[in-house]
């Protein structure tokens, strides 16, 4: 199996990996959009989407009612509707950029997935091997660099629409995303200062961060959210701003900008923006979990290796320590955490009202950025004091 994979042409390998990303992220993002509708409904005390049904399943007595109320088939209905709807192309738009903008929205969102590790398996000697599509040493930097290109889709969509409200949305997006990128980048520096102890080879790898959080002992197993709560908080707030989520969805802001940058878009082009937004959320949550919430370790102070060891002692089954089982288990743990983060995104949406634009700018430049710099200086001093030079 592995030999077969390694013998493939690199181009074919890349193609398969790319298809895998699309096949996993696209439905996941679509499911998130349905979950958003459903969770929003529950939080507002209404039933939410509960009509769509597939004929054959409708004949099963109790299950069909349950599934209909859950609204699962709205995902299919929505997808089908958006695919087959007429694609409106307003006469006053810049056609090239108007069509290009949704495509550009997808590209960074899907590209960043390749460098995010999503699980791990353990070799016979207990060594952790991360599962990721492209293992680059610059890890997090690649995520930041590529995801920062996502702003162009918003700017271009707003500009190419050639009408007032989308334009305002595009201008807001360009200023907002740059403002919060600074705090976001600064907030993760303490993490990498801490894991790149003197004498080790410097790395920005996300897998290394998780490895650091799964060491034995109290300090080894401490997730960085406990060790660096301020960093985690700044990163989380910036993540909301970077993914254009409420309370920071200035580019969209239905209350004052109709639909913001996507006002003029319809049908599948419109839905591509939403798939891109949810992909950004998925990747962003993944990075947050890897950095601060222990990655694929089930609980703080309980690493994946501990869990596997415990299971093995309980069951004495050889299958438990098989790399395939460990890999799948780690992916499941990671995915559960990511979905919990997505739920958190929706929870915040209905908890904190949208900011005004000047408040967003003020928060970014006058509160978060100084806080991030202060946090960095504090941790730099603390780490210099704690980690003895070799």
């Amino acid at each position: 199996m592995l030999d077969l994979w390694n013998n493939l042409h690199p181009l074919v390998q890349g193609l398969i990996k790319g298809l895998a990303v699309i096949l996993v992220i696209f439905p996941l993002a679509g499911a998130s959009s349905l979950a958003e509708r459903k969770v929003s409904a529950w939080m507002q005390g209404r039933p939410g989407p509960n009509r769509a049904m597939v004929p054959w399943i409708a004949w099963i007595p109790f299950l069909s009612t349950f599934l209909r109320r859950l609204g699962l088939f709205h995902l299919l209905a929505d997808g089908g509707k958006l695919l087959f709807k007429e694609e409106p192309l307003p006469g006053h738009v810049n056609k090239l950029y108007f069509i290009l903008a949704p495509v550009i929205a997808m590209m960074p969102a899907f590209t960043t997935v390749t460098v995010v590790p999503f699980g791990a398996y353990l070799t016979g000697s207990g060594e952790m091997v991360p599962l990721m599509l492209a293992n680059v040493d610059v890890g997090l930097l690649a995520v930041f660099a590529v995801s920062s290109l996502g702003v162009y889709s918003l700017i271009l969509a707003g500009w190419a629409s050639n009408s007032k409200y989308p334009f305002l949305g595009g201008v807001r997006a360009s200023a907002q995303l740059i403002s919060y990128e600074l705090s976001m980048t600064l907030s993760v520096v303490p993490v990498f200062l801490w894991i790149n102890a003197p004498g080790t080879a410097g790395t920005m790898s996300l897998a290394r961060v998780v490895e650091f959080q799964s060491q034995p002992g109290f300090w080894g197993g401490t997730w960085f959210v406990f060790l660096m709560p301020v960093s985690a908080f700044i990163f989380l707030v910036s993540l909301f701003a970077e993914t254009n989520r409420q309370p920071f969805d200035m580019a969209e802001s239905e209350a004052d900008l109709v639909g913001g940058f996507h006002t003029e878009f319809g049908a599948f082009k419109w839905s591509l923006f939403f798939v891109a937004e949810y992909s950004h959320m998925l990747v962003g949550s993944g990075v947050f979990i890897l950095l601060f919430l222990g990655g694929w370790n089930p609980l703080p102070w309980v690493s994946l290796a501990d869990l596997i060891g415990g299971l093995h002692r309980l069951t004495h089954a050889a299958a438990v320590v098989h790399p395939l089982f460990v890999g799948v288990l780690s992916i499941v743990i990671f995915l559960v955490k990511v979905l919990a983060m997505i739920f958190f995104f929706m929870w915040i949406r209905w908890t904190i009202p949208r900011f005004r634009y000047d408040q967003v700018m003020k928060l970014g430049w006058q509160r978060l950025l100084p806080l991030a710099i202060g946090n960095l200086v504090f941790y730099a001093l603390a780490i210099a004091f704690l980690q003895k030079p070799v």
Partner: protein, 171 residues
């Protein structure tokens, strides 16, 4: 394979750069600049200088060009520009062009380009540690000077953007 990729990226870089200068539409020009930067990042990746490639994308493609677009939209300078430069501007740009030509001429005539070491960029620009080490030892003075220049520019912006007579911005 490597040659094909190099040719693609080099073509992208140069075509993008030409597009920046040749385009009348400022948004198109900015997008060409973006393409050029992406090509340049691809060239860096081919030299194994991954860090440089991603820093280039992060800083220039991710932030600087986005700011350009922001300014273009804010000022809305769509195709209204005519060739109405002042005499001083024409004179200085001619002088600058002459200097550039002279520099290129002397370089072609007398300059000696040592055979470039393809591993040099990869050695320094591949990972964080060697890069940072160079930044804080060999190139400390240029870095400090650049930082100071940026500080001067920032102070200039603060001074210029302050409204005369107004001490505190009204909310």
């Amino acid at each position: 394979m490597a040659h094909v990729l190099f040719n693609c990226f080099a073509l992208l870089t140069i075509a993008g750069a030409v597009g920046v200068v040749a385009n009348k539409n400022t948004v198109n020009a900015a997008m060409c600049f973006l393409l050029s930067l992406v090509g340049l990042a691809g060239l860096f990746v081919q030299l194994d200088a991954y860090l440089l490639a991603f820093v280039l994308l992060l800083v220039y493609a991710g932030a600087v060009v986005a700011l350009f677009l922001f300014i273009i939209m804010l000022l809305d300078t769509q195709g209204r520009q005519k060739w109405d430069f002042s005499k001083l501007a024409v004179f200085t740009s001619l002088v600058a062009f002459g200097l550039l030509l002279a520099g290129l001429g002397t370089f072609v005539k007398r300059g000696q380009l040592e055979a470039p070491n393809p591993n040099a960029a990869g050695g320094v620009g591949a990972a964080l540690k060697p890069y940072a080490y160079q930044l804080f030892t060999t190139y400390l003075l240029p870095v400090e000077v650049m930082g100071f220049l940026l500080l001067v520019a920032m102070l200039g912006v603060i001074v210029l953007s302050r409204k005369a007579g107004a001490g505190e911005d009204a909310p």
